[in-house]
């Protein structure tokens, strides 16, 4: 048992570190960072993000885990972790490529034809083109395979109609991965096909969603007779679900880590700064008990992440058990944020940068976190994944098996 790098890992870290030091500035404690609460990306942020990605790509430090033939370094999983750990210590541009590099790229590499890979992968890697994901629909979230947007064949094209939702960054993206229903008469999972769509196509309308925290990082995307060439289809017609699973497995692998940023350090500081019943809150035994519980859990999530890294280091592939970090971590961040507001007493009602403890960051977190609990799998979906894939418990009894999709019962459409 050893918390330190192996000699090979240490050498790689030094190499990474040297390049980062030559090309970026170290992040200070005042530089913030942490939880992404779904903010809109402005033009300036966008060009800075593309410039940083280009710089990395030119030096061979972009998408290092991708095979060399696609511009990566063929790096190991632990090297990927080391790169991420080191890069996060520097003041770099916002990473707007998480979905493209974490999910779209690996899917195209797995299921694309040589021509498709040639067309898309290099510009995805270099940041010249940005990608988004068009999976969820108003009536298909946790039950993604229940999606209803349609693709109808027309000569060499497909014509797409319907609506997607929760698409991060749709406004500035060039390409999107899209799952649609190509055969409503087939059973649910067999009627889907998978496309790459040009986000500049006529007939695509993008409307930002206003979140509960006022942010507008996500969008609704409407398709009105949008044409996609058949050459942009990934894998066979009707095999879309298998391709989508590839995407989702990569999503799970790219979430997971986190945990250390639950905010327990800030909460301890806040408890020392504010009073409760006329004395520093930290002296109250009830507060102390609560802080201790948060601390135990924060550390447990952090060390569980370390065990995952350790498994990677030994060449093992973390499986569905990586769901734990998100399931436990998101609830914990939410509880800590809620308690951060409570510790402020009646002033907890404020959400004003200049007049609230810690510049209103507790209220901001509180309003941002619910998104984290549903993104990339709700708590309930994650519990199913753990129960079925980790613990081997039987799947749910289902009423949508073996019948044509069009005959599956459905509720009224959501607003």
């Amino acid at each position: 048992m050893d918390f330190n790098d192996t000699p090979e890992e240490a050498a790689f870290r030094a190499e990474v570190r040297a390049w980062l030091e030559a090309n970026a500035e170290l992040r200070g404690p005042e530089d913030g960072g942490g939880v992404d609460l779904g903010e809109l990306v402005d033009d300036e942020t966008l060009s800075a993000a593309k410039a940083w990605q280009k710089k990395k790509a030119d030096a061979g430090w972009a998408c290092i885990r991708w095979p060399k033939e696609y511009g990566g370094r063929g790096a190991t999983a632990i090297q990927g972790v080391i790169w991420n750990q080191e890069e996060s210590k520097f003041k770099t541009a916002l990473n707007i490529f998480g979905i493209g590099h974490g999910m779209c790229g690996p899917t195209v590499m797995t299921h694309g034809t040589p021509e498709q890979k040639e067309r898309w992968i290099p510009k995805l890697l270099s940041g010249e083109e940005v990608w988004c994901q068009l999976f969820s629909e108003p009536s298909a979230g946790s039950d993604l395979a229940g999606l209803r947007s349609t693709a109808v064949r027309d000569g060499d094209d497909w014509i797409i109609n319907g609506q997607k939702i929760w698409t991060t960054g749709a406004q500035f993206c060039d390409w999107g991965i899209l799952v649609v229903r190509s055969d409503p008469n087939a059973v649910k999972h067999a009627g889907l096909s998978y496309f790459v769509v040009d986000m500049h196509s006529p007939g695509i309308e993008i409307k930002p969603i206003v979140q509960i925290n006022g942010g507008t990082g996500f969008n609704e995307v409407f398709f009105d007779d949008v044409r996609i060439p058949d050459a942009n289809r990934l894998s066979e017609v009707g095999n879309g679900w298998a391709v989508a699973i590839t995407t989702l497995m990569n999503e799970r692998a790219s979430i997971g880590s986190g945990g250390g940023r639950a905010g327990i350090g800030d909460l301890l500081r806040l408890a020392q700064e504010v009073e409760l019943n006329g004395a520093p809150a930290i002296e109250d035994s009830g507060v102390r008990q609560k802080l201790a519980d948060f601390y135990v859990r924060s550390k447990a999530v952090q060390y569980t992440g370390n065990r995952t890294v350790s498994a990677l280091s030994q060449g093992k592939t973390p499986g569905p058990e990586a769901s734990l970090g998100k399931l436990v971590g998101a609830v914990l961040i939410q509880e800590i944020a809620a308690y951060g507001i409570e510790l402020q007493g009646a002033a907890g009602v404020l959400n004003d940068h200049d007049n609230t403890a810690h510049e209103g960051s507790w209220q901001e977190r509180y309003l941002g976190i619910p998104g984290l609990r549903v993104a990339g799998g709700t708590d309930e979906v994650l519990r199913n994944i753990i129960a079925e894939r980790v613990l081997g418990l039987p799947p749910e009894a289902r009423v949508d098996k073996g019948i044509a999709f069009k005959d599956i019962p459905t509720g009224p459409p959501s607003k």
């Binding site: 048992m1 050893d2 918390f3 330190n4 790098d5 192996t6 890992e9 632990i78 301890l268 930290i282 035994s285 102390r288 008990q289 802080l291 201790a292 519980d293 601390y295 135990v296 859990r297 550390k299 447990a300 999530v301 060390y303 569980t304 370390n306 065990r307 890294v309 350790s310 498994a311 280091s313 030994q314 058990e321 734990l324 399931l327 436990v328 309930e380 994650l382 519990r383 199913n384 753990i386 129960a387 079925e388 980790v390 613990l391 418990l393 039987p394 799947p395 749910e396 009894a397």
Partner: protein, 370 residues
């Protein structure tokens, strides 16, 4: 980074597991639980012969000379088996106290006997309800003679030597006291977990030998408890995993409404939550073992988070076990109550969760002030 046990340590763990599966089935725990015997002598002898009692004791004192990572994996198996032996008291408390503070002469005289199992040690700290360590101790030592009463003394009937907390001339100190002399009266008391029973022990002028520095008892007891907390957390982890595995098997076999009950989301989601609690406990335990084996400054914090999360996971799992089994879980005949008893007992025996939470926050404050 390697946040895992080595192959050799895993092999040791597997050997311990195999041995206990054969020699310490749950029926052995039940046998002790249902009898007046305070522990299983045959299993104790077996554990001693395998060298487990001296896993982390240097060879010069008769031990195996391994480290705490090895002791931790053995502890996990002892916990998984609900082994009815005074392992935690004799090894994590008495032996560790001697290793920490004993003079060379004391170690040479006492450790070989503890390692061979010929002698069983324990710690007698608390005296009444509401105590979690050595606070408010009233027992006194005057002129080398101990007077006072201790309750509960874990494995107090089985042990023949105790590390006793008492007020000395220079304040609270720890003493080594033989429990077999005339001035010691032992009384069996009914215990929540009779497979690991406690006793009341009264001392009326029993010879007491100073352990460590006089007046340093509180600090020393704190260090002993930190070490014991990590090791007991591994026992708790093993017990939790066993309870979880048995419950999972049961839920897969048990049918209701035409389906295995393990197929209902109401049950599956609770299994998923328990699994998370156990994995979190495992992570904190591993960190504790690392801190313990490196004699790291972080042990003070690591012990708290290992003990708190392991106690929580064991408590929750044992409670759910009875619930998932339904009516049969509440019968004497089924084994669920042995886990239920062990979980609650281990969550308080070294001090309750509230006291460890307080300890954790105090230590974090001290770190921040430093």
């Amino acid at each position: 980074m390697n946040f895992d046990f080595s192959d050799d340590q895993k092999l040791l763990q597997q050997t311990a597991k195999d041995f206990l599966e054969e020699h310490s089935p749950l029926s052995l725990c039940r046998e002790v639980l249902e009898s007046d015997a305070p522990y299983s002598q045959s299993l104790w002898k077996g554990a001693a012969e395998l060298g487990w009692l001296g896993t982390a004791v240097p060879e010069e004192y008769g031990g195996a000379g391994f480290g705490y990572l090895e002791l931790a994996v053995v502890a996990e198996e002892v916990g998984r088996a609900l082994a009815p032996i005074p392992f935690s008291t004799s090894v994590y408390l008495a032996t560790e106290a001697l290793l920490l503070a004993g003079s060379d002469e004391q170690k040479k005289r006492l450790l070989p006997k503890l390692v061979s199992g010929e002698s069983i040690g324990t710690a007698a700290f608390t005296e009444k309800a509401g105590q979690n360590g050595v606070e408010s101790v009233e027992a006194r030592v005057d002129g080398g003679k101990l007077s006072g009463s201790k309750l509960p003394v874990p494995d107090g009937e089985a042990a023949d030597v105790a590390v006793v907390a008492a007020q000395g001339g220079k304040g609270l100190s720890l003493y080594l006291v033989s429990l077999t002399g005339d001035a010691v009266e032992r009384e069996a008391v009914r215990s929540l977990d009779p497979s690991r029973p406690a006793a009341r022990i009264s001392f009326e002028g029993a010879p007491a030998e100073l352990l460590g520095t006089e007046g340093d008892g509180a600090a020393l007891a704190g260090r002993v408890l930190d070490r014991a907390a990590v090791l007991l957390a591994f026992e708790q982890l093993g017990g939790t995993q066993r309870a979880f595995d048995l419950t999972r098997e049961f839920a897969l076999q048990r049918y209701a409404f035409g389906r295995p009950i393990a197929s209902f989301q109401a049950i599956k989601h609770r299994f998923a939550d328990l699994w998370c609690e156990i994995e979190l406990a495992r992570s904190n335990c591993y960190y504790g073992a690392w801190a313990l084996s490196n004699e790291d400054d972080e042990l003070a914090e690591a012990a708290c988070i290992a003990r708190l999360q392991a106690s929580r996971a064991f408590d929750l799992t044992a409670v759910e076990m009875l619930e998932f089994y339904g009516g049969v879980g509440y019968t004497w005949e089924y084994d669920c109550h042995m886990f239920y008893r062990r979980a609650k007992s281990t969550s308080v025996v070294l001090g309750n969760p509230a006291s460890w939470r307080e300890k954790l926050i105090s230590r974090l404050e001290a770190d921040r002030a430093a």
